[in-house]
Amino acid sequence: MSTPSSSAASGRRLDVMRLLVDNKALIALALLIAVSAGLSDNFLSSDNLLNVLRQTSINAIIAMGVTFVILTAGIDLSVGAVLALTGAFAASMTAAGLSPWLSVPGTIIAGAGLGAISGLFVAFGRIQAFIVTLVAMTVLRGATLVYTDGRPVSIGVSEAADSFWNLGGGYWLGVPIPIYMMFFVYVLCWGVLHHTRFGRHVYAVGGGEKVARLSGINVNRIKISVYAIAGAFAALAGAILAARLGSAQPNAGTGYELDAIAAVVIGGTSLMGGRGRIFGTLIGALVIGVLNNALNIMGVSSYYQMIAKGAVILLAVLIDSRAQK
């Protein structure tokens, strides 16, 4: 009777391994925080922590949208460009005196529309998402320069501009507004992915497109929707960024798509689709945010920061691929 008990023990060991691997982003975050706190007294100050969260919020919001796309086994390289163009929209709407209650939803809808166009080509054009969104990135970067004439778009000085500015720079109960936005988006994504039919379908399309189709899922609709979602969240991030700076920069968001993908991957979502959690993405974004902040505090140059970020991503993917075996 030793066999069952020993297999149970090995089963338990496996479970522990599984648990560690599944929560590696969380463990990495805890380690990073512990090390940073040890190396710097400043790190754990509430000012610094809020600062980290605020810096993370933009990437986290974009990354959560990209998570939907990656769950369907797609990829979106255009979110940084969408952010720049929609940020310019938001700034010019504000400069025209439009209240943020209108301009922000308008910006988000514009972002969703831009994303949906990519989605259309992926779904009906049957072109690889990488190519479609690479093209979208190029085109939208160009469109942003055309639209802004290559100059920053100021939100102007008005009552509308003041209240728009709050979206990026304001506080509520001592906590920056973008942090609320990040958590709001997180709760929304969590609900949609885990508690709605749509969320289940997103996982199914990524897990097996053929299976999903034969099971009666409208695969094209799901695909278009996820790119629209990624576009919408990128636009929200664009509005937040423009609000915080008081103007929209034509080359804002350059390279943000890669940070977003990195956050998703560190969070354990598989680039092959069908597997991953939105919680992981949030933690993944925080890992990147804390890492940048800690290295900043320690006075490490931004050149080395890039190398460190690359190493963290590589490590995360390596752990995942080992665990798959």
């Binding site: 508690h195 709605t196 039919r197 749509f198 289940r200 379908h201 996982y203 199914a204 897990g207 097996g208 053929k210 299976v211 999903a212 189709r213 034969l214 099971s215 009666g216 899922i217 409208n218 069908g274 597997r275």
Partner: protein, 543 residues
Amino acid sequence: MQSHAQPRVLMALKGIDKGFSGVSVLKGVDLTLRAGRVHALAGENGAGKSTLMKILSGVYRYDAGTLWLRDEEVVFTTPRQAMDSRIAIIHQELNLVPGLSAGENIFLGREPRTALGTVDWKRLHRDARQLLDRLRQSLDSRTAVSELSIGQQQMVEIARALSLDAEIIIMDEPTDALTDIETEILAEVVAELRAEGRSLVLITHRLNEIFSMCDEVAVLRDGQMIHQGPTAELDEDGLIRLMVGRELAERYPYTPATPDGEAMLEVEDLEAPGVKGISFSARRGEVLGFGGLMGAGRTELARALCGDTRISAGSVKLHGQPVRFASPAEALAAGLVYVPEDRKQAGLILPHSVANNMSLSALPSFCGAFGRIRHGEEAAAVESFVKSMQIKVSNTDQPVDTLSGGNQQKVSLAKALMPAPELVILDEPTRGVDVGAKREIYLLINELKRQGKCVLLISSEMPELLGLADRILVVADGRISGEFSRENATQEAIMTAASGLESLLSSGNDAANGTSMSSAASRATARPSSTPDSSASRHEMPN
């Protein structure tokens, strides 16, 4: 038949055993390959033909037995060794690099070099030209393989085998994808290779090819070599009996159909990818079986019916209403569901949980406002299917890929049945499923019938068709090549229709035409002059 000296033995397999994870696939198989002979390897799907050929060519190791090559015992551990021993295998799914030219493929890894060490393109294409000429192929050796027809690609594979100067050439279903003309050329090439003293092995389902192209036939059945001997000693009936010769045990529970079920599905002159004009109707409370060979067009028919592929001509009526589904989603909404053959690729999302897989199609019925899933209802439905279908799971959050084949199949069936469809198309529902689970699936099919649903059962296992179906349609080459009522269906008759052998069909009636079926035609095709099944298994090797 001939008693004069047999040609020399090139290769011999003795007592080969092979199993996969405890399941025995080959049991003590003997096979002798002679120089200047064409050997047919015949047998039903799953009899072990491909496994045997993979052992011959070094892809698989065997568990027991010996392999003799030119009177020397050999052990192949890699395909490379078999290749170096001048054994070439041409797989059913061709092994070419699509982006490279025909010539490059022929000499892949063995490109002729110039003195400088670069590839000698001139010589490569000149040599390729010579090989292709021998095969009567006018194609340019510089053409990319992806631009060639399947038949031409096949010829490129054969050219590669020739370039290796292979003495033993194995072809797995070589004519499956070929046109008639290409098949003729292949037959001529085979005859030439034989005349050169090479030994050829043809795996084929087509009986006429066995008789027209092969000198010897070896028959595998359930992993055992039932027979090896000259083709001339057998006739078609005899060969079929050797191939199928399995007793129909009471493994197949059958409940009679309700006689006056209304027509649920009416299909007329349906044309779609792989379907070349098919008409039939199926009634409520009926199990309509579809027999035929792999690739005959049965799966294609199913995919067209459920909206997965586009119908190009003809009409489909469901409950008397004309329908044309643009997607499986529309078919599902109308009560038609398709359970695909390939459950790993098309039936189930393997890494996802049992529960998520099972409820995938029925999800809308568990959803409230904004598509919010009512988890309690979903879990209850999943639980009840797990219980009623006796699916063995430790919990429903378990990933599907941790289940056995039989339980996976049950999950796939449960997924299809949860939305309570009226018409269910089952494609090879018991493939890779153990005997116990098979019987449970059969009982389930009967239960569906009792509930007044309509089941289209596609199966390559003839006993299954004979045991479960109320009527059987045989599909060959995208058309119906035979229709049998339960009473007058026999394995021989179905095999004959499936192989596209028209001698028996046309002798009786014009039924071979197939697009329009009449009961008179079906009666005429039903019973060829054959002996009952019971004598079939008593065929000993003539030694």
